[in-house]
Symmetry: C2
Subunit: 417 residues, 2 copies
């Protein structure tokens, strides 16, 4: 079971979480719980780091921000004990959850579940702070924002869990953000691949890596709401969204839509470098220093070469990495040989996602036409087998999502809304 920051925000809510956990144990399950920091806490800690040092050392950043989950894990263990359950916290370095040394965005490498399983078998509820691990150099690592989902899936995989229930502040995965589109519908099932694309483009229900890991490790993940009644049944029978394989979904024999969902992502920033030499290898020099510093570059567009043998390159990076990106590119300005660097962090990426589009042409053109009809300008495009994404002005995010939700016939019928 995994509980997010909103569910852990304060001792009263932690008591509700403990109640849900306790019922699950009472239903006959052995339970491990992964927790996030209290809502707002990680932001508070990240802000401290920025104030202390805008170009922060990610190893020290990890020391600071990992503390949020440490607090909630101890508090949940205390609360479960107050209810008469046996419970204890297991910090990242105690289990330990071994990661690589990519601080602030570490990857879980392996995980010794022996002590954990022994404790669970003895009837103890294991409470594990999400988001944190231990580097080969014996230092605290964190997995990147939202990393607690990944922690939960990793724990579920390591202990061979029947299911990994991710409790959030929404009650499942929707065709799009219901706060934007009132007629968004809850999906009973999505595939790992769809969820992967939805997660990667800002449907903030689950962290991308948690879904990849679930797919790789074949962990059955259920997304459901932590805001349930105190007398609700245990999670086995709750109507969340199950994330399953393509095969399992086909076996369910459900009516499929062409498009499963629409996601908007405001966490990217756009960077343009002008007048780079249009020769082989020149563009690679842009991305080498970013890769070396673990900055993920997403959309890349290279404009048609101009007659002077020069080209403009535009790409997106996470907003949180924009300052570091700018510093790195400035450092390498001579090597790359660009003229100007132009940044824009007022952009949004809108994506339509669905395994159904594999066998259907015309998904992209429907998208472009629907947006053009409303005068929304497309700044960049990227596609995958089950996704089409466009970059637009951030101010047009909600409009674009509503237009597309209708264009792909995803709006709930009035009687089902």
């Amino acid at each position: 079971m995994k509980f997010g920051g909103t569910s852990m925000a304060g001792t009263e809510r932690i008591r509700r979480v403990a109640n849900i956990v306790r019922r699950q144990q009472a239903a006959g399950h052995e339970v491990a719980v992964v927790v996030s920091a209290m809502a707002g806490e990680t932001d508070r800690l990240v802000n401290f780091c920025r104030e202390a040092n805008p170009l922060y050392d990610p190893a020290e950043y990890d020391v600071v921000v990992a503390s949020g989950e440490q607090v909630t894990s101890g508090l949940l263990a205390l609360t479960l004990q107050a209810m008469g359950c046996k419970a204890r916290s297991w910090l990242g370095w105690q289990l330990p959850i071994h990661t690589d040394d990519a601080h602030a965005k570490a990857r879980i490498e392996d995980f010794d579940s022996e002590a954990l399983l022994a404790s669970m078998a003895a009837g103890e509820i294991a409470v594990i702070p999400g988001f944190q691990g231990l580097s080969p150099a014996n230092r605290v690592t964190t997995l990147g924002r939202g990393g607690s989902d990944t922690s939960a899936v990793a724990v579920a995989a390591a202990i061979n869990a029947d299911r990994c229930d991710i409790y959030t502040d929404v009650d499942g995965v929707y065709t799009t953000d219901p706060r934007i589109v009132a007629k968004a519908r809850k999906l009973s099932h999505v595939t790992y691949e769809e969820m992967l694309e939805l997660a990667s483009v800002g449907s903030k229900v689950l962290q991308t890596r948690s879904v990849s890991l679930a797919m790789k490790e074949k962990v059955r993940v259920q997304v459901l709401s932590s805001f349930i009644d105190d007398d609700a049944p245990a999670a086995d029978t709750l109507p969340g969204t199950m994330i399953v394989s393509d095969e399992e979904l086909e076996g369910l024999d459900m009516e499929r839509q062409l498009i499963t969902g629409i996601a908007a992502d405001k966490n990217e920033a756009k960077v343009t470098l002008t007048r780079i030499a249009d020769r082989p290898g020149a563009v690679a020099t842009v991305f080498e220093p970013l890769a070396a510093n673990n900055i993920n570059v997403d959309m890349i567009i290279q404009n048609v070469a101009k007659d002077k043998g020069e080209t403009d390159v535009t790409f997106t990076v996470p907003k949180a990495d924009l300052l570091r990106t700018q510093a790195l590119l400035e450092e390498n300005k001579d090597k790359i040989g660009f003229f100007r660097m132009i940044s824009d962090d007022k952009v949004a990426k809108i994506s339509v996602v669905g395994v159904g589009m594999r066998s259907h042409a015309g998904v992209a053109s429907t998208m472009f036409k629907a947006l053009a009809d409303r005068g929304i300008n497309i700044q960049a495009i990227s596609t995958s087998e089950i996704k089409v994404s466009v970059l637009i002005d951030e101010d047009e995010t909600e409009l674009a999502v509503r237009v597309l939700h209708t264009a792909y016939d995803l709006d709930a019928k009035d009687d089902a809304a």
Copy 2:
């Protein structure tokens, strides 16, 4: 160097601390820094624990409260890096600082300084969260409130430091709290023993155990203010209070007072058990369960046995332990055989301290007379070789301190104030 919570309260203050540290390094010292949590943070975390579980499991309590120092250690390392210094944090479990398993009030057992010394020799400033350690069971321990001072002295001892500078929100040790007595004087030197008594009775400059440890390990401790100008000299020449041995103090050939200082402590609560059987061993049954739960009992008074062969026992415990004390005594009521338990947490302990009193009779009688003259009722008395303490009504704390400060001729002369 050790910095307390007020000095670490927010990134702006941490920058001031980093400046002080940097200057010390620039003056040619290798530096290790021990830090407290931001002022108020530990209280916030303790309150969370209380809300989660009033009778909290100290092992989980430690997980929660140790996070405060983890945050400030990372932030100070980041801030030093921003100033161009090499710095890194070393968490309690990383060094590790081995303690016993008395969670929430653990004692440091040993400390492997090898990695720390190597890092310092390489020019890296070591930043160590105070207050925390690692138990034999590989769990987080904390040393009790104010434990960061003890951490600092332990680090200083382990690395054979020339000096342990404790930076606080006061600029030294005074004859009494200057907020109570405007004419209190700063002491240039006090002995370990005096400091021990002053610390144990609520002169909140240093934690008791830090002073015992300094005495045992012969660590020269200096208390000084962290609120100094940005261009102040390095700490070698700052006028704080040096805590030294009796011998060193005698060598200084200073004019000594009979009494060095007066301290008030509002952190004790009084418990009375009535009508306990007046037979050998009966009183021991009161204190066994408290000792087994690491609750420190301080003053003990047993009233004269009444004709029925029964006696009343009164003692004090830390206010923070009062609830647990009441619960433990209630559990053992039949075994102890008392009639009623009466508690009072509105008491204060006032102490006069000085190595000078060893050779002088009349210190206690001066105290009792001065208090009686002002109508202050004494509820209990305890003495040691260099201290006389009385328990009084909490409301009379300030009055009692002022009366005694004058009675022992400690008031600063007007021209020296």
